[in-house]
Amino acid sequence: MVNVYLVLAYGLLWGIFTVYAWVIHGRQQQLEKELVELKKALGQQ
């Protein structure tokens, strides 16, 4: 029989790591987009 506590522990651990990696990637993408826009705006001035 599968141990519920074991499944929960591993599930939550990988859930926490995945959410953090996803959040940090999202923040990077947002900044990269802003960087391109700023460079474009400064190049036009």
Binding site: N3, Y5, L6, L12, F17, I24, Q28, L42
Partner: protein
């Protein structure tokens, strides 16, 4: 670093290492005689705890480096170690009670080791909150560095708590005296898991450092745009 060991390769190595660790935990390491299957939480719990303690040591190093040389890279390193360390410390506090409930019959008790680990988690929170709420970046970096250095005192006490005091938490498996220790296959599973977690920690820290570099560049360009618009 990016050329020798690109982030994508780092991520692939981390994932492969984690898969090997999972294989060792579930198929190579023997089942513990009294606790049964639930003992396998031990590998991720201990590896997360050691990584969280190491993370706070890196905050300490980065904080000392920043106060000494005032280099932004040292501050970014400490801030990144705090953010990723917080994630690992959260995993310790999540997996611990999930092991304790079936083994002790309770989720939590305020013994020395558990309380000091909770204090460590609060120190990570305090460091990160300070970074968020102090508006002046230079001032935030100095104040956070002070928290990073002073808070480090918790780490050795937390590590030694199960050696110095009689606690509900199990006795140490390393240098724990007579009767302590592990089956050799359990050692292999534990150290391979810790290695995989360190690799994951390094990958996430690298991602944070990249984020910090982007943030500085964006902030610099915003200032440039502001001054060119004002002129």
């Amino acid at each position: 670093m990016r050329k020798i060991f690109p982030p994508t390769l780092h991520l692939l190595v981390t994932l492969a290492w984690l898969m090997v660790a999972t294989y060792l935990i579930f198929l190579y390491a023997p089942q513990e005689a009294t606790m049964g299957e639930v003992q396998r939480i031990f590998y991720i719990h201990v590896a997360s705890a050691w990584t969280a303690m190491l993370a706070y040591f890196l905050i300490f190093l980065g904080s000392v480096g920043y106060l000494w040389k005032r280099r932004d890279a040292a501050d970014d390193f400490a801030h990144g170690a705090a953010e990723v360390g917080f994630v690992f410390c959260t995993c310790v506090l999540v997996t611990g009670p999930l092991w304790a409930k079936p083994v002790w019959g309770i989720w939590w008790t305020w013994d020395a080791r558990l309380t000091l680990t909770f204090v460590l988690w609060l120190l990570f929170v305090a460091y990160l909150m300070l970074r968020s709420y102090v508006i002046n970046p230079g001032r935030a970096a100095v104040l956070a560095a002070v928290v990073g250095i002073m808070g480090f005192v918790d780490v050795p006490i937390d590590y030694m708590a199960i050696r110095w005091w009689r606690t509900q938490h199990p006795q140490p498996v390393i240098a724990g005296g007579e009767g302590s220790g592990l089956d050799p296959r359990m050692w292999v599973a534990l150290f391979v898991t810790w290695g995989a977690f360190l690799c994951l920690f390094a990958y996430l820290l690298r991602q944070y450092m990249r984020l910090a570099a982007l943030r500085r560049e964006v902030s610099h360009l915003r200032r440039l745009r502001g001054s060119s618009q004002g002129a």
